[in-house]
Symmetry: C2
Subunit: 220 residues, 2 copies
C-alpha cells in the first residue's frame, strides 16, 4: 500500500516561505515537548534560529501558528482519505485503504498529529469549527464505506454509528503508543490494523477468500 | 452480563466518611467541568456545601483529592477485570467478559473515568507510578487471555503486543464519545464491543458456533 510523506515534506508542499516552514517545525517540536501553554514565542523563535520579532512578522499570535499546524495535518489526512476513497473497488478493498491511511499517515508525522489532538482545545472557537468540519468529513468517508459494505452484505455488523466510531477511534488510538523506535513502521502497523478492522466488521472472509468477481458483485 | 455500580455507589463502598464522599463527588464534578487546574479548593468546597477549611481537614492538597479519585476508579476497573478473569471458561468467553467490563464499567462512571484519563499528568511522579502499575495489570490480564487463545488456536492473530494494545485502546476509546443521553446503555455498548473484539482477534466463529465442549477443549 501507499507510503506517506513526513512533516517536513508536507510543509515543503504546502508552505512557500522557508522561514515559515522553520517556524512551523519549531512550533511542532516546542508544543510536542512542552505543551502549547508552556511554550513561548521566544522558545519557538529560538528553536527556529530566528528573533522573536520574526515570529510576529508571519503569525499574529502563537494561536495562529498552532492553528496552521493542526489545519495542515487535518487537511493532509483528509486528502489521503479522499484519494483512498476515489480509487474504487469493493467495500473491503476501500476500507483497507482508508484504515491504512488513517493509521499510517498521521503516524508518519506523529509529533504534529499528537499536538493536533492534545492542543485542539487551545484553538479559538472559529478555528475549532474549521477543524471539526474536516474531522467530520473523515468520519463520513469511513461511514459511507461501512454503509455500502453493510447494505451489500459484504460486511456484517449491526449498528453503523457505533461501528464507525469504533473503527475511527481504533485508527486514532495508534498515536497514543506509536514510537519511531518501535518494532514496526507506520505502514506495517497500518497493514496490521487493516486486518483487525476487517475482522471487526466481518469483512475479513470476503476480503481474503472471495474471488475478485464475487467481491465486485458484492460491492455493486 | 454484569451490570456495574455508579460512582456514588463506589464511593459508598470505599469511603467511610460521608464528608469525604461529598468532597470526592464534588471534585469529580469540578474537574470534569473545568479541568483540574482551573478548579479551586473553594469551588470544590462550595459544590460539596462545605467550607474551604473542611477540604484541608481531609485532603492536604487538591492533588490528593484528584489522586484518590483516580486511584478508586483504577482499582475498581482492576477488580472488575480480576473478577472477570477468575470466572474461567474458554478464551473467547473470558475475553468477552473482560471487554464488557473494560467498556461498560468505566462508562457507568464516565465523568470520573474521563477525569482520570485527562488529569493523569497532574499527579505527582510517585502517584503516577501507582496508577501505571494498576493500568499495567489491566493490560496484562487482557494480554494473558489473548496469549492463551492464540496458543490454543481459538484466536487467530499475528502479533500479541499490537493486538493487546488495539483491544485495550478500543475499549478505552468509548469514553471519548459515550454520553448518558445516547441511544445505548454502557452494558449494551459493552455487548456490542465484545462482538467487535471477537471479530478482531478471529475468535468470533469459535465463540458463536463451536459447541461448549469444543470451546472447553480449545481453552484447555
Amino acid at each position: 500500500m501507499a507510503t506517506y510523506v513526513t512533516l517536513t515534506e508536507l510543509f515543503q508542499n504546502r508552505v512557500e516561505s522557508p522561514t515559515v516552514r522553520r517556524l512551523l517545525l519549531a512550533g511542532v517540536e516546542a508544543f510536542w515537548r512542552d505543551g502549547f501553554h508552556a511554550s513561548s514565542t521566544r522558545d519557538i523563535a529560538k528553536r527556529a534560529q530566528l528573533s522573536p520579532a520574526a515570529v510576529y512578522v508571519h503569525f499574529k499570535a502563537k494561536e495562529d501558528l498552532l492553528f496552521d499546524i493542526i489545519l495542515y495535518v487535518a487537511e493532509h489526512l483528509r486528502n489521503g482519505l479522499r484519494e483512498a476513497a476515489a480509487k474504487g473497488g469493493s467495500p473491503a478493498e476501500l476500507l483497507s485503504r482508508l484504515v491504512h491511511a488513517y493509521v499510517a499517515l498521521p503516524a508518519r508525522m506523529y509529533k504534529a498529529s499528537l499536538v493536533a489532538n492534545r492542543e485542539f482545545g487551545s484553538l479559538t472557537l472559529s478555528q475549532r469549527k474549521q477543524i471539526v468540519k474536516i474531522r467530520d468529513e473523515l468520519e463520513d468517508i469511513v461511514g459511507s464505506c461501512l454503509a455500502v459494505g453493510k447494505s451489500s452484505a459484504e460486511f456484517n455488523f449491526d449498528d453503523l454509528s457505533i461501528t464507525r466510531m469504533a473503527v475511527v477511534s481504533l485508527c486514532r488510538s495508534t498515536l497514543l503508543w506509536y514510537s519511531p523506535r518501535g518494532k514496526y513502521t507506520p505502514e506495517e502497523i497500518g497493514d496490521y490494523y487493516v486486518d483487525l478492522v476487517l475482522g471487526m466488521v466481518g469483512g475479513k472472509v470476503a476480503a481474503r477468500q472471495a474471488p475478485p468477481a464475487a467481491r465486485l458483485r458484492a460491492a455493486g
